[in-house]
């Protein structure tokens, strides 16, 4: 369980996040929505501790995440994988090595630097790539892949960390509709079949409604909405995006993510070959 209490972050004179209180139970799929500059990214980066909170505390199962340092901090970052809008892979390294880099915190620095990854780890990496249906690209340089493929490599790397939480910071903002859909479905699949908590920042309302069981709306650094997708009325959306921004939030439904996926009444289960891949890992 992730417990965020009274967290504030200031950058100079601007306050990016204003005393946010949230409790996120394990295994939930949460969408954080809001206009640009609402503080969504800062909130996620504080959870992973890429950014240190100015005030308040973040707790994960009795560990005070907000005051960790050194090896303890890196262990938390291992447990709390992060996916970025720009993928943040190493473009000059091949895909398999990029995925193996998710293991860094599980191993000694010397063996990592010498590229001494074990057979089990390589098998695990290939299983992760297979699960995301991109194992064919394993030996290509990551920089040569398309955006959608790179984002799936990033998700595979996150899986290699064996995380308890996955944070996704605008994972589909620079992808085309088709790839956006694939990425969102993979995140939902990971959430449902592995029970990993997924917190994802989304720019658009529709995507959040389609994939997330809980939606948090932020505006000007504060949480202005917290509820299920069905509670997200037009009035609530107006509170999140402001009267002018509402149009923009809806217009992005052209991304098709909601369109094609629909609203599943029955949660899909992992196909058998994926289940084998997981068992093999």
């Amino acid at each position: 369980m992730l417990d965020i209490s009274n967290v504030t972050r200031r950058f100079g004179s601007t306050t990016a996040v204003k005393s946010v209180d949230l409790t996120i139970p394990a295994g939930q799929m949460v969408g954080v929505i809001g206009a640009s500059g609402a503080g969504k990214s800062t909130l996620l980066r504080m959870i992973n501790r890429l950014v240190v909170p100015s005030e308040g505390s973040i707790l994960f199962n009795d560990t005070k995440v907000s005051s960790l340092s050194g090896q303890a901090l890196r262990n938390w970052q291992r447990d709390c994988a992060m996916i970025f809008q720009q993928f943040n892979l190493v473009p000059r390294l091949d895909v398999l090595t990029n995925v193996l880099l998710g293991r860094l915190n599980h191993r000694s620095t010397v063996s990592s630097v010498l590229n001494l990854f074990t057979r089990e780890e390589r098998a695990m990496a290939i299983a992760a790539l297979e699960r995301l249906d991109i194992s064919r690209t394993a030996l290509q340089r990551a920089g040569t892949l398309s955006g959608g493929q790179q984002q799936r490599v990033a998700i595979a790397r996150a899986l290699m960390q064996e995380p308890k939480v996955i944070l996704a910071d605008e994972p589909i903002a620079s992808l085309d509709p088709r790839n956006a859909q694939v990425v969102m479905q993979s995140l939902r699949d990971i959430n449902q079949s592995d029970g990993i908590t997924v917190i994802t920042n989304l720019h658009t309302l529709d995507t959040a409604r389609t994939y997330c069981e809980r939606i948090i709306g932020m505006a000007a650094g504060e949480v202005v909405f917290d509820g299920g997708p069905d509670d997200l009325t037009e009035a609530a959306a107006r509170r999140i995006y402001g009267a002018d921004g509402l149009e923009e939030a809806f217009s992005e439904s052209v991304t098709f993510t909601s369109f094609a996926a629909g609203k599943p009444k029955v949660r899909p289960t992992a196909p058998p070959e994926i289940a084998i891949a997981i068992a093999g890992a």
């Binding site: 892979l89 190493v90 860094l104």
Partner: protein, 304 residues
Amino acid sequence: MERHWRQLNNTRRLYTILGLIGLAFALTASLWFANETNAGKFIDRLPHLFDFVGDMIPRDAFELWRALFDLESPYYDGSFQYDYPVGRVYIWGAFYVPEYLYKMMETLNIAVLATFVGFSFGFMLCFLAAKNLTRSRWLRFAVRRFMEVLRAFPEIVIAGFFLAIFSLGPIPAIIAVAIHSIGALGKMYFEVVENADMKPDEGLRAAGGNWIERVWFGIVPQVMPNFISYFLLRLEINVRASTIIGAVGGGGIGETLRLSISRGHEAKTLAIILLLFVTIICVDQFSAWLRKRIVGNQAFEFGP
């Protein structure tokens, strides 16, 4: 208005003329000073320039090749000037390496070894000097000043210092060139590192990688092509530097050249100059080729 403009213009013109006079005066004074402090008077010695060129002409065109490959000369009269085979370096039986090629190899060896040492230490230090990787301002400051000190002195000054300690030979030359290379490469390298794309680093940080892992996997792959490019450029510079150091006692071809010039051995001097010329062109061409081969068009391409 008109008067004011003319006034301004006159002032400007006056300053220009005063400046030119001052410059001419300074130039004349410094030339006079240089001539006064010179051992022989420049004007008096000028005609001897042509004497020197005349002395450099060998007795026949083949003398140059005989000197270069240590072959026997028909002009051999027992004097050292025409005794080319004496310099042969026998490797195995009758097989020998000509003296100057051997000395050239010594010089190249100094350059290559020193560049490798410079690369290794420059590589290790540059990440500590880069703003985007080292948070501690004091550590950064210390490393940067340290590298500045290393590159502040020309190789020849450092060589003079180490020659006094280790006596004549290539070891002090290697140390001198290496020290200068650490400072020079370290500076180039940390500037490359500061221009690197930090997104891969952020990704690894978010995955719990420590500093060394982040540097090795996030930064090194993108800066390596530039590092190699600068390494090869440094190698070219160091070949020249180690030749010069040879002339002050650091061994290698430079030393042989200086001795040969001062003794007035025309064929030997020409042979050495030819060899130097060809070697330096070859090294430059080779390094340009290798740079293109390894780095390709991606030398200054960062990120995806």
